[in-house]
Symmetry: C2
Subunit: 340 residues, 2 copies
């Protein structure tokens, strides 16, 4: 196989003021460097697009360093080894790693935090960026370790049609819990219910806190014991008001606040009066759970008990628009870019 | 001893609209009922006045049922048995129980959640309502079980001159931690520093979030690992901005919000970006820790390593004003009413 002479890349060109726009990105053609001893070249087949990327575009205090300006946008990729000067890797090996928004990457073969080998014979390659990847493990960790549900409890998840949310509900149902989703629009809600959730609330049909509260009361007649938060803002306020005593909230995403000023929490006193526990987490900081979580997730994808959807944009140049779409809630399930 | 013919009581006469006022209470003289078999009569010597009482005056969803109208205000008391028809109790026994805002109470002698015997030979009787009572155990539980500090960490506590806050800081210092208090006014701060806190921030001298944030930065050069929250509002916002990754917040009181609309939390996204854990608690729901906590607290009061102050109002009729004083932050240390 002959490699092309250049490597298409998307850089962060500028930081957003308010909402991110296509102008914040720049497509360039970079040189293809020669491999040094021990290095591996990977051709990317799939690029993962995730809400956290918006946070990295800011130069603000967060759990991770900001994305550097004029550098390749970070992102997880599934690919195949096309050239190897490492004894650990052979041409043709399927791998997942943080390859970034580009067609090729060069990686040290012995970096333990680098390439991870994947088996694509039973699980589709793209699933390693979704249900059997970071989003799936995120769902598993928040549900099992932070919500830690007891039999008979009710778990609510926002962004329930997303890659994380849909897995949270299906893992909860597999444990005999009541699972209630919150999603935007009737199409997403219909799908959420089709994969086994007991109910799904369309937050667009309940635009104020009072209406959302009523819908939650109906969907959760015994209150809410665990809440997996992917959204924040008014939805968090509404769910807080329905939490049972000693409820647990796993804080995974606050997408509503990324594009500007923080959204205040209206009634923090409920955390005390209902004796709630709220915990924010980043799944990459809990590597100890990955093997157990991935084993369950791969098994459930293989046997069909964990279903997922993908929104696929085609071609690297579409990655910026795909991210803006995710931030606007336009994707259904895991957002990917197919790089061919 | 001859008992009086009537029992002075203070009832909740009306629920506050906004701030509580003296008009919300009514002093009455009630009959002294005869004892039934198995019952005990206790003469109250000390009445505890606590911020939680304001919450009970509302008819709102909280962790406890509201205080009933036209009923004796609830509250913990230290007293002495003056009449007994129970084989378990003798005249002269010193006891602590929820006797309420009245001079005498009648209690079933065999109620395991009722009377608790106390030893006043080494620890002063009034301390069983403070450092060796609910406030002390509240401090112990929040620090040890929720903040669960590791060596070298920094713990911050608000309302640091109060019965709970002063104990939090001294227990933290006894464990080798850096302890920083927040209190209102130079007199309170001077006392907080005199009992061993490394620093105390006068929030009245730093009235906005920016000034408070700067003072926290100076007092906590390594950031904040644990925060014991007795106040809420702007102080919580300021401390949140200084929390280290994986910090823990024990939510014990939200006094600033009791008198009206809830105070929003300005930056809830920090809970996620700093991966914080926030947990609300009520110490009476954790009876398993009381023996261990009380043993340490009594030992430290006896040997002088746990210091406290008391604000004492004299006479039952002063109890409403004492509560309003606590809500306005006028007390220093544990607020008591001496009933003689």
């Amino acid at each position: 196989m002959t490699l092309p002479e250049t490597n298409a890349q998307i850089l962060l060109a500028s930081r957003p003021r308010g909402a991110a726009t296509l102008d914040n990105f720049r497509l360039v053609e970079a040189e293809m460097p020669a491999l040094a001893d021990g290095e591996v070249r990977v051709r990317h087949q799939w690029l993962s697009i995730d809400p956290y990327m918006r946070g990295r575009m800011n130069d603000a205090k967060s759990y991770a360093a900001p994305q550097a300006l004029d550098a390749v946008m970070i992102g997880q990729t599934v690919g195949v080894v096309v050239e190897s000067r490492s004894p650990q890797w052979a041409v043709g090996d399927a791998v997942v790693h943080m390859g970034g928004w580009q067609q090729y990457s060069v990686v040290a073969g012995d970096d333990r935090r680098g390439l991870r080998r994947i088996d694509t014979t039973v699980v589709p390659a793209s699933a390693y960026l979704g249900a059997v990847g970071m989003p799936g493990v995120t769902a598993w960790y928040g549900l099992m370790k932070l919500i830690a549900p007891k039999p008979g409890e009710t778990v609510v998840v926002s962004a329930a049609a997303g890659a994380v949310g849909s897995a949270v509900g299906q893992l909860a149902k597999a444990r005999g819990l009541r699972a209630v989703g919150i999603a935007g629009g009737p199409e997403k809600c219909a799908w959420v219910q089709s994969i086994g959730f007991d109910a799904c609330i369309d937050h667009r049909a309940h635009p104020d806190a009072r209406a959302l509260g009523s819908a939650l009361r109906e969907a959760c007649p015994d209150g809410v014991d665990g809440y997996f938060e992917n959204v924040g803002g008014a939805i968090l306020d509404a769910v807080l008001g329905r939490m049972n005593a000693f409820g647990r909230i796993a804080l995974c995403g606050m997408i509503a606040g990324y594009d500007g000023a923080p959204i205040p929490l209206a009634q923090p006193h409920l955390l005390l009066s209902s004796r709630l526990r709220v915990e924010g987490f980043i799944v990459t900081e809990h590597p100890e759970v990955w093997p157990e979580a991935l084993a369950e997730l791969a098994g459930r994808v293989a046997d069909g008990s964990l279903r997922y959807r993908e929104s696929i944009a085609v071609g690297l140049a579409e990655a910026p628009a795909a991210l803006l779409g995710v931030l606007a809630g336009k994707n259904v399930g895991k957002q990917l870019v197919s790089l061919g």
